[in-house]
Symmetry: C2
Subunit: 460 residues, 2 copies
C-alpha cells in the first residue's frame, strides 16, 4: 500500500517503526562512501522526507547512481531521526527507479533565481518556493468557493466569448476562426458575417454584466474564472491572462458591500492560515519576514472606511513630497495608496469616488458628483478589490452609458435588467492573483501564475 | 432584519408566528375583490412563499397594482397555511415596491418553451426550471472542488492562451490584438511577430499538457476551467464554449484511474443529492421521471469494466440492426454506447482502445495495437469521461507525436517531462456540461449553460 508523504506527516505516530512504501522524486542526494541520504518529496507536502541507506543493501551501488530529479518507488522502515530538527527518517529496504533524470537537469538542489525559474515554467513547481505558492493558490481558490457556497451564493460560469464591447474594444483580444492570410472580404472590408458568430467577437475582460442578470434571479451569485486584457505593459502587477472573482448581490447597498468584502477576505485568510501552516512558515522565512504576523493581524483588524474626499484631505495634510499631487477630482496613485494604508496601519475602504473617473454603470450619489464606488486598499498590495452599487434606474443608466459612448445595442439586455423588476444591488471584483500575492508575499505576478502570459511571453 | 427565503424554510419553527422581512420578486399575483395572493421568490430557494393580504390594509389598492416581475420588500407574520400542501404563508403587514415591471414582461406565470427561454437568456434563470438547473450546476462545481481538495489534489489554473498547437489548429479559436482591416504584412503574409505574443496564438481546448507538468510536481492535480472548440455543428451536445475538469495523477495506472473516476462520480452525485433535494424533486417531476432513482442507483452500482474488444464482441452478438456496424478497429457510435449501458444496466468503463483512433500521448499496450485509454459510458448520457495512462517513455512519445504530425517544437517542454524524472501517470477529462445534463436530465447543452455559445449565437 503506497501512501502520500502528507499522510506520513499527518499520522506519523501510526507509521513509526512500520514499513511504508512511497513514490516520488529525489530532490537531493548526498553520497558517502558507505552510506547515503536522499532528500525525497512526492509533492503532496512541502515537507521532504529523508531516506537513508548504507552498503549493507544489495543495491547500494545501484542507488548511488540515482541522480537528482529521478522518480523512485521506495520501501523502508520509519524511524526516529537521530537529528533533533527532523522528526523521522526512513531506512530504505527496497528502492526502484521509475524514471531517470540526466545530470543536466535544470533544477538542481541550490538556490535558483526566480528569473531563471520563469524560463523553466514547466519544472519550477517542483521547487519549494513554488510548491508553497501554488499549493496556497489552490487552497485560496477553495477558500473562495467555501465562503460563497457556505453563504448560499450561486457560482455562475459567465461566458468568455462575447460580442458586447463593454470594456472598450482596445482592451480585449479579438477571437476568430479565420485564416489570417485568407480573410473573407466584402466591399474591401473584412466580412465578419462569415465568422463563427457572424460578427466581431472578443474574449471578455469581465463577467459582471452577466453576473448581474443572475443576481436578479438568485439574489447572491459569484463568478470565478479567467479574464483577459491586451495591455502591452511589462510591470510586476500586469498579466494578459488572470483570474477574477466577481460577486454580485441583489438588495445590497454600499455598506452591505463593504461588510461582505471584509467578511470574505477575513474568511479566506483564516482558511489558508489553517490549511497551509507549513507553506506560510516557509514564505515567512524566505520571502517576506513577518508575513504570518501580517495575515493574522488582518483577521483581527477593523477595516477603516473613508470617503475619497477624506482620503485626499489626509494626503494633502501629509508632510510628504508627492510625485503626483493628490486631487479631489482624480484617482489616487500607488504612493497615495501606500500612505493611506500605513496611516491607518491596516486595510482601508475608500468610497464615494468622483464619477468622471469611474465606470458608467455605477450608482450616482445624491451629490451629483460622486458615485457609490469603493476600493479596498490593503497594506503592501494596494488595491485588492473594487466594487460599487450599480445604477438601478433605467433612464439614468442609459444617460450615463450614452455619456460614456457605450454602444447601447450590445448591452441592451443588460440595461433591460433595470426595466424588469430591477432593484438596488452591488458587486465587486477581486483579482485572484492580487490575492495570492497578498497571501504569499510574492511581489511579481509572474510568480503566482502557473504559466504566465505577458507581452511576448506565451512559450509554454 | 431581512432574511433569505431559504433560511425561512430551513428554520420555519423558529419564525412561525413571528414577523419577518423579505426582499425578492413577484412571480405570480392573483387578485380578488377583497384580498390577494402573491407568489414570492428571492432566488435563494427554488421554493416560493405565498404572501396573503386583504382590504383591511391601508395600501390594499396600491398592492393590487403590483405586476408579475416587480421587486418588493415585504414584512409580515409567518402563519400556518390553511391549505395542507403549503407549509406556511405570510400575512403582509407592510410592502414596498423596489422595482417596477411592465406588463409586457416576457416571463409570465405560465409554461414557456425552452426555445423561447433561450431567446431570453438573461431572464430565464428566474423560472423554476433554470433555478433548479443553475443551482445544481453551482453545487456540482463545488462537489468537484470538495472531492479533489478533500483528497489533497492541487487545483491548477492552466493557461487558456497558448501557442501550442496540440489540438489541431482547425479546432481552436485564433486570438489577436490586430485590427482585421489593418493587419500588418511581411512579404505579403500576415506578420504575426507584430502581435502581442509575437506569434500565432490560440485559445486552448485542453489544459492536459500543463496539468501533466504540475502532476509531475504535486503528484495529484486537477484543472477546472473553460474550454473552446470552433466546431461548426448544431447538435444538442455541442457548444463552442464549455467547462472541463482535467485531473492528472502521477504514479497512477489505468486501473487506478478507473477507481478514481468511479469514486469521484459517486461522490459528486451524493453531494448534489444531499444538497439539492428540492431541485432534484422538481426535475424528477417535470423533466425526467425517475431521475432521482437513476442517480441513487448510480451510487449503489458497481461500474463494469470491459475492453473495447469485449464491447465489440457484445455488440456483434446482439440481435440488433445497427446503423454503424461495430468494428474492432473503430470507435463506437452513440447507438452502441446506449446498447452497452443498457446491457449492463449501469455505468461501464470501456478500456484498451485501438491506438489509431486515439491521441498520440496515450500509452501503448504491450500488444502493440491498443492504448491504455478508457471511456466511461453512463446510461442516458453516453460518454461522460475519457482518459488514459500517458506515454511516459521519451523515445516512444516522440515517435508517436511524429506519426501523428504533431509540431514537436510547440510541445518540446511537454515531451521533456519524460526526460526529467518522468513516471507512469494517468489523467482524464470530464465535460462539465455533460455532467450537469446527467445530473438534471436536461437533454440540450444550451439549457445547462448560463449564456451558451453555439455557431451564430453570441447575443448576450
Amino acid at each position: 500500500m503506497i501512501i502520500d508523504v502528507k499522510e506520513l506527516f499527518d499520522q506519523k505516530e501510526k507509521y513509526m517503526n512500520k514499513e511504508v512504501k512511497l513514490q516520488g522524486w529525489i530532490r537531493n542526494h548526498r553520497k558517502q562512501k558507505n552510506f547515503g541520504f536522499i532528500d525525497f518529496s512526492d509533492g503532496t507536502s512541502i515537507k521532504h522526507v529523508q531516506l537513508v541507506y548504507d552498503d549493507t543493501l544489495d543495491i547500494f551501488e545501484e542507488i548511488q547512481k540515482y541522480h537528482v530529479g529521478c522518480a523512485i518507488e521506495v520501501s523502508g522502515i520509519v524511524i526516529l531521526s537521530p537529528k533533533e530538527h527532523q522528526e523521522f527518517e526512513i531506512q530504505i529496504s527496497q528502492i526502484k527507479l521509475l524514471g531517470d533524470c540526466p545530470i543536466d537537469y535544470p533544477i538542481q538542489p541550490k538556490r535558483h533565481s526566480r528569473e531563471f525559474l520563469r524560463e523553466q515554467a514547466y519544472l519550477r513547481p517542483r521547487v519549494n518556493l513554488f510548491q508553497a505558492v501554488f499549493r496556497i493558490r489552490s487552497v485560496a481558490a477553495m477558500a473562495i468557493h467555501d465562503y460563497f457556497q457556505g453563504n448560499n451564493y450561486v457560482y455562475v460560469h459567465t461566458p468568455l466569448l462575447t460580442t458586447a464591447d463593454c470594456e472598450g474594444e482596445n482592451q480585449m483580444f479579438k477571437v476568430t476562426t479565420f485564416d489570417f492570410n485568407d480573410i473573407p472580404l466584402l466591399d474591401g472590408k473584412v466580412d465578419l458575417s462569415k465568422d463563427l458568430f457572424n460578427r466581431q467577437s472578443f474574449i471578455t475582460g469581465t463577467g459582471q454584466l452577466h453576473g448581474e442578470a443572475f443576481a436578479m434571479s438568485f439574489k447572491k451569485i459569484y463568478t470565478f474564472g479567467p479574464t483577459f486584457r491586451t495591455e502591452n505593459s511589462n510591470t510586476k502587477t500586469h498579466a494578459n491572462e488572470f483570474w477574477m472573482i466577481e460577486p454580485e448581490m441583489a438588495f445590497m447597498d454600499l455598506d452591505d458591500l463593504m461588510n461582505t468584502e471584509e467578511d470574505m477576505l477575513k474568511n479566506i485568510v483564516s482558511y489558508v492560515l489553517e490549511r497551509c501552516p507549513d507553506e506560510i512558515d516557509f514564505l515567512d522565512q524566505f520571502v517576506e519576514k513577518g508575513l504570518k504576523k501580517r495575515l493574522n493581524h488582518l483577521i483581527d483588524s477593523t477595516f477603516h472606511r473613508i470617503t475619497h474626499h477624506e482620503a485626499i484631505d489626509i494626503l494633502l495634510k501629509a508632510n510628504q513630497k508627492w510625485e503626483f499631487t493628490p486631487s479631489y477630482d482624480e484617482d489616487i496613485a500607488k504612493e497615495h495608496e501606500r500612505y493611506i494604508t500605513e496611516y491607518f496601519d491596516g486595510p482601508v475602504f475608500i468610497y464615494n469616488w468622483p464619477k468622471d473617473i469611474k465606470a458608467w454603470y455605477m450608482k450616482e450619489n445624491p451629490d451629483g458628483k460622486t458615485v457609490a464606488a469603493v476600493d479596498l486598499e490593503v497594506p503592501g498590495s494596494g488595491e485588492l478589490m473594487g466594487g460599487s452599487q450599480r445604477e438601478e434606474n433605467f433612464e439614468k443608466i442609459i444617460e450615463r452609458a450614452k455619456q460614456m459612448n457605450v454602444d447601447l445595442n450590445t448591452v441592451k439586455w443588460y440595461l433591460n435588467l433595470r426595466k424588469f423588476g430591477g432593484c438596488y444591488h452591488s458587486g465587486f471584483g477581486m483579482g485572484f492573483e492580487r490575492l495570492v500575492m497578498y497571501l504569499t508575499g510574492i511581489d511579481n505576478i509572474r510568480d503566482v501564475i502557473p504559466f504566465p502570459r505577458t507581452p511576448g511571453n506565451c512559450d509554454f
